[in-house]
């Protein structure tokens, strides 16, 4: 394996008595699209700002291209940040905003102009080059902010909640756009987001942060299919949880039924078993991993149908996702009794 582009080693940062970053280790590779995912207060933004140079770590190292940059000021790092508020200079036109960073590098005027023109093409805003930021729509501003950071061709581009201010539809379009641009430029992107769906759609790898610590990192698929903690399982996608007790190697749910899993519950008597809604199938198999209950609600989502099942096995309603054709073959109504089952390989168990 080649040397990682960026290595974060045992980094810590306190604000007063608050441990914003509590010892994080992470490797990020050349040309990766990496997502830092977490709720507010998880430390993701602090970590990002540390990479940009706006926060200095109290302890640990930030190594970029083999050099420790953790004490280098932001204006001397080959790293650029796209701000959550975009932070466009309100007094400058789109073109001047984009040229600003290149002017700081004291590049020849002709080169600045050609690079600005080129990036304006990429973000499809050439016709608005002379507009001021307050004359642009939210989506256009977002693209200018991206271009302004990208035009410097940084080793690492940091994006702080880049799509947070956009409406839902635009967000979907921009997710694909960002991926296209990242591909085209071959620059490593690190994005901070609290939106798990966004992270799954865009990133090659995702790191989940909680209370200043790294919970888990991996590809979206790894994290979705093999969450290592209850928090990760709950945070990414939708998950059904069944409280279980372990008796002589068997997991027993609250309603007395037996749950089986490929991985056992380690060294604890109590835990939760977790199953994704799309892994539940209608019908009993008269054996393990079978839950019965009453349908309490049905939500229609176009492609699929989400059925809420009230069952003694779980304090919360169990969510079942049925594709439209399955639902059509066996119509279900609120109040019906229903049994569902799943395979042992789809059970995840966590200690509590």
């Amino acid at each position: 394996m080649t040397q990682p582009l960026l290595t974060i080693r045992n980094v810590r940062k306190n604000f007063g008595s608050v441990k914003a970053i509590d010892g994080i280790d992470l490797d990020i590779h050349e040309n990766e699209f990496f997502a830092l995912l977490g709720a507010s207060g998880s430390g993701k933004t602090t970590l990002l700002r540390m990479l940009a140079g706006f926060e200095l770590p109290d302890d640990g190292e930030v190594i970029l291209d083999g050099k420790d940059v953790s004490q280098v000021p932001p204006n001397h790092r080959p790293v650029n940040l796209m701000f959550q508020s975009y932070a466009l200079f309100p007094n400058m036109s789109v073109a001047r905003n984009i040229a600003y960073g290149l002017e700081m590098e004291k590049l020849p005027k002709a080169e600045i102009r050609s690079r600005v023109d080129e990036i304006l093409e990429v973000i499809q805003l050439s016709h608005l080059a002379n507009r001021k930021p307050d004359q642009l729509s939210g989506g256009q501003r977002q693209r200018v902010a991206l271009a302004r950071a990208l035009v410097k061709r940084p080793r690492l581009l940091l994006l702080d909640e880049p799509l947070g201010a956009l409406d839902k539809k635009l967000r979907g379009e921009m997710q694909l756009e960002l991926k296209r641009i990242q591909n085209e430029f071959g620059i490593t992107f690190i994005i901070v987001t609290h939106d798990q769906e966004e992270a799954l759609v865009m990133a090659d790898r995702v790191a989940i942060l909680k209370d200043g610590r790294l919970l888990q990192s991996g590809t979206p698929q790894e994290i979705y299919e093999h969450p290592e903690s209850r928090f990760a399982a709950d945070f990414i996608g939708v998950m059904n949880f069944f409280p279980v007790t372990q008796e002589s190697g068997h997991l027993r749910a609250q309603d007395g039924s037996t749950i089986t899993a490929n991985t056992p519950l380690e060294s604890a008597a109590r835990g939760v078993a977790a199953v994704r809604p799309e892994r539940l199938h209608i019908g009993g198999n008269d054996r393990d991993n079978s839950i019965s209950g009453t349908v309490s609600a049905i939500a229609y989502h176009g492609l699929d149908l989400q059925v809420h099942l009230k069952t003694p096995a779980s304090p919360d309603p169990v969510l079942i996702r049925l594709t439209a054709d399955v639902a059509e073959r066996a119509p279900i109504g609120v109040g019906d009794s229903l049994t569902v089952h799943w395979a042992a390989k789809d059970t995840r168990v966590f200690a509590v």
Partner: protein
């Protein structure tokens, strides 16, 4: 939460890690030419007046006591009466005007407000002088009465208390309109509609819902007019024609004619005390009103 506000503060502090340096010149100026003189006045109030004017640096409470002398206490009461009357009238007219402006179509409100405030931007003396022209015996009102065929004796208008009140109301009305417009325009129109929907008629809606929520504006307007009126000496001097004295004129006289600075200082102390008391009341009123809003 601590770590979420940190970035903004960090950004500000990057400009200058010691913002005190930026503030020093201005703060030094204010200390030298405002704080020090005001403290001096405070001290002055407790010294004796020298025999030939000037100051005798002996501690005394005479000046403070003199403020409560019936002669001066009456002037205080009279000033407070004139100021209170002016403030009340200004608030009634100003509130009505602000209400009428908020009832206008949204796109016309900015223009109406602009023209309501415009006179406030012009010279105070000139605005006061305009009323001399209006109220004069050969002035516009007299002329208009004559033109309308009234040839009896008109009551004296200029150099009366009424003239002073008119002048004060006129000068400070734009501010009151502004102060009342602010909370009125922030009101959610749906609140008035909700009250109507629940069966309140227009007047009830106004009295029970809109008025209580706009108390801060009324309080600000009232306090502003009252404070500026009670210490005013220009308007009484010009429109009252020196016929009667207000505190402002009294202070003026102590410093420029009677030459009793310690007493003048004591008088201004009371002026400040009244002002601070009213400002506290006003803050209290706004806090109560915003508390009421939160409860709703």
């Amino acid at each position: 939460m601590h770590w979420r506000i940190a970035p903004q503060i960090q950004a500000r502090r990057m400009i200058d890690r010691k913002p005190l340096y930026l503030m020093t010149p201005a703060l030094a100026w204010l200390t030298a030419f405002m704080v020090a003189p005001c403290l001096m006045i405070l001290a002055l109030a407790f010294f004796q007046r020298g025999i030939y004017g000037g100051i005798d640096y002996t501690f005394t409470l005479e000046n403070i006591a003199l403020v409560f002398d019936p002669l001066y206490a009456n002037i205080f009461l009279k000033s407070a009466f004139i100021a209170g009357l002016s403030a009340t009238i200004a608030v009634v007219i100003g509130y009505a005007a602000a209400f009428a402006i908020t009832a206008a179509p949204a796109k016309r409100q900015a223009m109406l407000l602009f023209f309501a405030v415009l006179p406030f931007w012009s010279n105070y003396l000139v605005r006061t002088y305009a009323w001399i022209v209006m109220l004069n015996r050969e002035g516009l009102i007299a002329g208009a009465a004559q033109w309308l065929g009234y040839d009896g004796e008109l009551p004296k208008m200029l150099y009366t208390e009424t003239a002073v009140v008119i002048g004060l109301v006129y000068n400070y009305l734009p501010f009151v309109i502004l102060a009342c417009y602010a909370p009125l325009s922030r009101l959610n129109p749906e609140i008035a509609e909700a009250s109507r929907d629940l069966g309140g008629n227009g007047w009830t809606t106004f009295r029970r819902v809109i008025l209580p929520m706009t108390v801060p504006g009324i309080a600000t307007g009232f306090v502003f007019v009252f404070v500026l009126s009670i210490g005013n000496f220009v308007t009484p001097a010009l429109l009252g024609g020196g016929q009667f004295q207000m505190i402002g004129n009294l202070v003026y006289a102590q410093f420029l004619t009677a030459n009793d600075w310690p007493f003048g200082a004591a008088l201004s102390m009371f002026l400040i005390a009244i002002m601070m008391g009213l400002l506290t009341l006003q803050t209290y009123a706004s806090e109560r009103a915003s508390g009421a809003r939160r409860e709703e």
